[in-house]
Symmetry: D2
Subunit: 316 residues, 4 copies
């Protein structure tokens, strides 16, 4: 390729300017002409926006990481409420924390500006569990147990996703929980590693015969991917949710037309969580002509920015 040709496919980096007129829309628009992860975040905003505007696109959202304890429950709730998510795949931990907040419990943080020098052994004795710089009192489990022990589970062999819908139905209508809004908006929740959670443990302790069906969900997920006219995927934090969505696309003729991920994981150790979206092309998970962006960022920073951009874009 000649120098001439190469210059044709390059354009100028604009030096970002913050002015009195800066708002979330023009900020993101400007960052598209910057570099590194700022550009990738701006592309993620733009691509997500396009996914929403594309009426044929089914939006699969993989959610890992302790986002509810970190104060992101309402952000995810709004993604669901606004219709930005059509299928949710998440971890049992996120559902456990979501239910805890729905039942009136709260996660805690240190009160002083600097991180407190709290010793983990003191926290243990005080029955307070630590999640990096967030804390959850152990009594939350007692509250979840009270709730779970009173449930009348209609079918001990129902699919996990059906059970999670049932769980959402038990919550009050004004609950700002992920479980509730999914049930209200008819967004299926898949949780392939459900038994890897405090919530499932409580269910298992109180229902010795239970055998929620994981295989039905696995097949249902492939069907959803198969039936999508177009598929868009957004992964927060990798893990099982990312792989579960990806394998459904791999084992059906479809592949993602739009693909986003927000993660701090990197490709070099070879795990799927940090794998590039380009790599997914080789598997037939992502289309070779897809629009995609990986944002290397803590989701607690990137996700609120994306939501803000998407909501403000709709407002116009």
């Amino acid at each position: 390729m000649s120098e001439k040709n190469l210059e044709d496919i390059l354009k100028r980096v604009n030096q970002l300017e913050i002015t009195d007129e800066t708002n979330i829309l023009n900020l993101i628009n400007s960052l598209k002409n910057a570099g590194f992860n700022a550009k990738r975040l701006a592309l993620a905003c733009e691509i997500y926006n396009e996914m929403i505007n594309d009426k044929e696109c089914i939006k699969f959202f993989g959610l890992a990481g302790a986002l509810v304890p970190a104060g992101m429950q309402k952000v995810i709730y709004d993604f669901l409420k606004e219709g930005y998510i059509n299928v949710l795949v998440t971890t049992g931990a996120n559902l456990t924390h979501d239910l805890a907040e729905a039942l009136g419990y709260h996660h805690l943080q240190g009160a002083s500006i600097n991180q407190n020098d709290l010793k983990d052994s003191d926290l243990y004795r005080a029955e307070i569990n630590r999640i990096y710089d967030v804390f959850m009192p152990n009594k939350v489990y007692k509250g979840i147990e009270d709730f779970i022990s009173n449930l009348k589970i209609p079918d001990s062999q129902m699919a996990v996703s059906s059970f999670l819908k049932f769980l959402g139905e038990q919550l009050p209508n004004d609950s700002q929980s992920i479980l509730k809004i999914c049930e209200q908006k008819k967004v299926p929740i898949f949780c392939p590693a459900f038994t890897d959670s405090g919530l499932a443990l409580q269910i298992g302790f109180h229902n010795q015969k239970i055998n929620l069906n994981h295989f039905a969900d696995m097949i249902e997920m492939v069907n959803l991917a198969w039936d999508a006219k177009k598929a868009g995927v957004c992964f927060v934090g990798g893990g099982v949710p990312k792989n579960f969505i990806m394998q459904s696309l791999q084992f059906c003729p479809n592949s993602a037309t739009y693909a986003l991920q927000i993660t701090m994981d990197r490709p070099e150790p070879g795990g799927l969580s940090g794998a590039t979206l380009q790599e997914a092309i080789s598997w037939g998970k992502v289309n070779e002509n897809a629009k995609y962006s990986t944002v290397i960022s803590d989701a607690t920073i990137a996700l609120p920015i994306i939501l803000w951009f998407l909501k403000k874009s709709r407002e116009k």
Copy 2:
């Protein structure tokens, strides 16, 4: 605390020396007196060694990441064969890759010294799936399907761990696979996110009525943690295997006396994969008097070193 007191608890860093007499035992012994991750790796070797020597200790091993494609199948096999693992928790992906190798298929790598500039779209057309710098031809799935479609699954509601034992029994006795050696050594394999794998998809496609029991495994795992006189844990790569072992310890009176993890994940984004072992003390997962070490290293580097040290230590 006075300067005097502080000096009392510190000792000299030794400058490591590589000589003609260097072997894996004295190398690791020397690195205990170094700093940073070299020291942590040496501590991990020492603590694992102590776990093995402690006859009361049940060794729980959580294995995530694409270690079989990266050439670590026999390393893990040897951990199992030598009795260094009593309970294995892993991902469906590792079992899928393990079965592929057991059926005579192989993972591939680029033949030239530098990474090949293989385009993912070309790989897609050639039906070769990429895992960072390792490749798996798609035909592997056909081989797995042939194997799976001929299985006579004895009970469609059996526990996942029972099914994995059954799967191991179907493999030839000389197979150097994880599934086989676990069955031979009576080491239970737990796979809480089993349906998040190509292996489970094949099983599901060929057995429409199957509903392997995940809850039975969840309860069984708590029982194993409960019954252990002492618990030792080793996590490679975080993810569901780490959490599944940890929650079992959290929901029983026991907590780990020895705790190791090898990971490239870090604590700051708040996810469990990168969480410190100290944090686990607050949850009652790890004992406040436990010996523990986190090694920030690609497992493909650290795991062979640890195995080499452990085998050589036994030889003496």
Copy 3:
């Protein structure tokens, strides 16, 4: 410590809400009650704001990383223009890129939405240098050489900082460059590794006798730290700029009252770039009562947000 006492020092995590009324001020204010890096970013905004409001505080700013190529030149320019920085320490690379933009050259990016598959060997032949996803045509060096070869350097033994002031004076008054605004606002620029840059190479090639004084700057920097009634530090990206500011505080009676860093580096490999701000307390670089926050984030995301917050806070 009793459970009671522990609860006293913890407060509720608020679930962040993005509404029609969300603006940069209330967003950051809300994120202070979240967790993980969102909270740390919010604390960084708050602490930087406090540094500016504290009239006794001298604000030392360490800038590493290729921020000008990534479109952050005007962001840093505004930090300087608004008086948010009193002493700048940076790399020769940043000054080289800053001068290139000041001379009318531009950095480039791929024109299509996905990262282009540009081969580095093709780029080499086209004389285009790559910085991750940003590009700089080699002809920029020719332009810098033309500029440098016409300079009449007043004193071949002047301090590096004096030379950089002289360089700023040669640029047009309306230049939006870091070199220019520092000269206009009388903010000294220190560049301890100046000879590690394309700019210095051009100066050296054209001025065989030059021996800009690095030691004078080193002593001057200690004096600046010594004379500060209060010291505040902000590090973007670690490296020499961080250490140079830190050693000045270490070797004078002062230590930082406010300390911030934005970095993707982590503490575990033991390098100074990723070292915690807590660790700096042991050295007497940061005061044990300092307010501090480390934000694990790409600076291209965090820095515009902080600037936006600071400017909007002043507007009120």
Copy 4:
């Protein structure tokens, strides 16, 4: 490219086996057929070996990070003593720590198996500086000061590299220090950010007129790169040492034929420390036909392994 062609350039991943016969040579040889960072480490060993065997190759070694405090002084010493390094570029910090050890001082580590809960404010009062999990008593600086204050510096305008040679000459012949072995083996040491160190501060405090020449070193370094029949580069930890070697190759007709780096930094934030070696091809720093390998690993793990491999390879 057809499937046939693709298979031609791929070969089988071998499952690594640790046996009674495992030694460092066959271990590394086996890991070349593995994946991820194990493979990259094995390639780094092989390429370094080839660099040494290539009599025309000048081996440039960039050393950043606190490796002497972490116990790696003798490892680096041996690289120099064995002739594996022809030109060393390092940080002032490494030289400061090296001199401290040469003067009989020692770095310290926690005595118990788990990391001690040492408070940084207590360490400050005890005058003990912390470097992650290694400690340096502040009195080391007093010892360095005594040494420096007695030096008769022959020329206050000498090049930094000449001064470092002079410094090495002052140390006893049996000193196992980097400064000494470089002087003995006539390996030049470049330290572009020398004034960014405690050592330079002591020199500056005691020699008010000193103006060691940094520009002479910069030009000398380009000449060394220019004159090399072949250039090989190895970077530990990025930073100024990496860039200084790279810019010398960029501004001369030569480019590296062999290129290695060991780092925990990654490319996505756009800084040079984490930049890929492929990217360096676009700049003309690394040859497009070069053999190269980036190992994502803590240097305290990778460096001893590489040295062990290289020494044992020579022994044969």
